[in-house]
C-alpha cells in the first residue's frame, strides 16, 4: 500500500480511451504516489484500487516499484529518516 506507482507515457497518451476510474488513476499518477494515496484521491476502497492499479500495470499504463530495501541499505535509510524527523521536530 506504500508501493509507489507512476503513469507511463503510454498511460498518459491513452487516458482519453480509458474508463473513468482507470483514467482518474492514471491522471493522478503523473508523479510517483503510493497506492494508498491513489485510493484516498480517487475515493475507492484500497482493495479495489489495488485491482485497478494491477490492471493498469498489466496494460503498461502504470509502472511500479516495491517496498523491499536491500538489507545493507535499510540501516542507512533508517538513519536518514531519524535525521529527517529530528529536523522537523
Amino acid at each position: 500500500m506504500a508501493a509507489q506507482v507512476v503513469a507511463t507515457r503510454d498511460g498518459l497518451d491513452s487516458t482519453s480511451r480509458l474508463h473513468y476510474e482507470h483514467r482518474d488513476i492514471v491522471e493522478f499518477c503523473r508523479e510517483w504516489v503510493a497506492i494508498a494515496e491513489i485510493s484516498a484521491h480517487v475515493g475507492l476502497h484500497l482493495g479495489v484500487t489495488r485491482v485497478l492499479v494491477a490492471d493498469l500495470i498489466a496494460l503498461n499504463f502504470l509502472t511500479t516499484r516495491g517496498l523491499h530495501l536491500p538489507e545493507d541499505r535499510q540501516r542507512q535509510i533508517i538513519e536518514r529518516v531519524i535525521r529527517g524527523l529530528t529536523a522537523i521536530r
Binding site: M1, C29, R80, L85
Partner: protein, 206 residues
Amino acid sequence: MDSLPFADAAPDQGRPPVPVKIVIAGGFGVGKTTAVSQISEVPVLTTEAPITEVAAAFDRAEEVPSKTTTTVALDFGRITIDDEIKLYLFGTPGQDRFGFMWRDLTEGALGALVIVDARRLDDCYPAVDYFERTGIPFGVAVNLFDGLLTHDLDDVRWALAISDDTPLITFDARDRGSVLDALLVVLRRSLTMPRRAGPPTDVTGS
C-alpha cells in the same frame, strides 16, 4: 489536467522515491488518527463509521468518554523525509479481528508504534503479540489522556509482558513534537534491534 504541458508528464524517466513506513497500532479511540494527523503533510485518509451498538458493546466504548465515531479501517499520512525518502504512517486497529490486515500493513515496515490507553490495556495485546512474534521492532506509547498517567509505567510493562528492551514511553497524541519523539523511539529501536534473517515465519496461526 489535459491542458498540462506534456513535458511535465514524463515521469516514467524520473527516479522513483523510496517509500518507507511505520505502522501505528492500537485499540479503538486510543489516538492513532490524532497522532498521524499531527505530523502528516497531507490530509489523513481515514475511513470512519459510527460505532454500531454491537460494536460498541464489543469494544466497550462506554469506557471512552465523548468518542462518538471510530476508525474502522485504515488511516495514513505521509512525511517527505528528503528528495528520495517518503515516510508513510499507517494506522490500524489493534484487535485480533483486524489481524488479516496486519501482514500487508507490516510488510517491509521499519517498525511499529503501539498506542495504549492505560485504562484499556487488553486492547493492544494482539498487536504487541503480533509484533513480538514477527520480530518487527516496536515501541509502546501510553497516550496521556488529559495529561494523566493512570497507571505506573512499570505496571504497564508488567501487564503487557514486554521485554525490558522494548521502549515504553508516555506521549500526547495531540502534540506534534510528542508524536515525532515517539516515532524516533521506534526508529532507534529499529536500528539497535537485531534483524531476523529472511522474511517473517508463518504468523497466520492464532
